[in-house]
């Protein structure tokens, strides 16, 4: 499944990185501590987090993540948006809690 298809089936707002809309999604990871994300998230995962700053994009880019989903209504700051556009890493935003995002995403990608 691609990010584009994921957005179509869940209520996520795209705020940056539209170049990466065709990125493939194979799984996901949830977490706000960057070292844990570095150690455990896998290539082609979507990453659910509340870290709406530029360093999240660096982590996603190094790991080859397919997108960052900002949960709990968190906004991406302007540096994050700029970097995500450059790197082609989609940033999606939602008011849902991280738990509810996972429920939604897993319902979509596992069917």
């Amino acid at each position: 499944m691609t990010i584009k298809e994921l957005i179509r089936s869940a209520e996520f707002e795209i705020v940056a990185g539209e170049k990466g809309m065709d990125n493939e999604v194979e799984g996901g990871y949830v977490g706000d501590l960057l070292s844990f994300v570095m150690a455990h998230a896998k290539e082609k995962d979507v990453w659910v987090t509340i870290q709406g700053h530029i360093n999240s994009v660096a982590v996603a880019s190094l790991l080859g993540l397919s997108a960052i989903i900002l949960s709990e209504g968190v906004a991406a700051d302007s540096e994050m948006i700029k970097k995500a556009d450059e790197e082609g890493i989609p940033i999606l935003r939602t008011k849902l809690s991280s738990f509810d995002v996972v429920c939604k995403v897993s319902g979509v990608i596992r069917t």
Partner: protein
């Protein structure tokens, strides 16, 4: 092949650029994705430590047929107790840094876990040198 990077201290806007640049180079060279992952994780942790704790520093990378050797050198405050710093969960990062998601106390443990060889030399008031080696085969 030798590569050299300058890392700015306390500049979170460009933090991780050296690791990202090495990753692109390794990808172009056709290095296996699982090896690139090991290098990216361990180098990013070391690079971020330099930014967070040591006012930046320099990174030298030597790529050879069988391995990637990364040496990160800073003139920061140094690590008084390396054994303690290696402990999972131990961190001296400030509250502000932790709010960004750093300071989980997993930096050095991740370097150890994802590299094939890790050496940390440090002298308080002088600086720290971290050597990371990852084998390509």
């Amino acid at each position: 092949m030798k590569l050299h990077y300058q890392v700015d201290g306390d500049n979170f806007l460009v933090a991780g650029e050296a690791s990202a640049s090495l990753k692109r180079t390794l990808k172009q060279l056709g290095i296996d994705a699982s090896i690139i992952r090991k290098i990216s994780i361990s180098m990013y942790e070391a690079e971020m430590n330099m930014v967070i704790h040591a006012y930046g520093g320099v990174i030298d990378v030597e790529l050879s047929a069988d391995k990637v050797a990364i040496i990160l050198k800073d003139t920061g405050p140094g690590i008084p107790d390396i054994e303690l710093a290696m402990k999972e969960g131990y961190s001296t990062a400030t509250h502000e840094i932790r709010e960004l998601g750093f300071g989980a106390g997993m930096g050095l443990p991740n370097m150890k876990r994802y590299s094939d060889y890790l050496n940390v030399y440090s002298e308080v008031g002088v600086g720290t040198t971290v050597e990371i080696t990852v084998y390509l085969t």
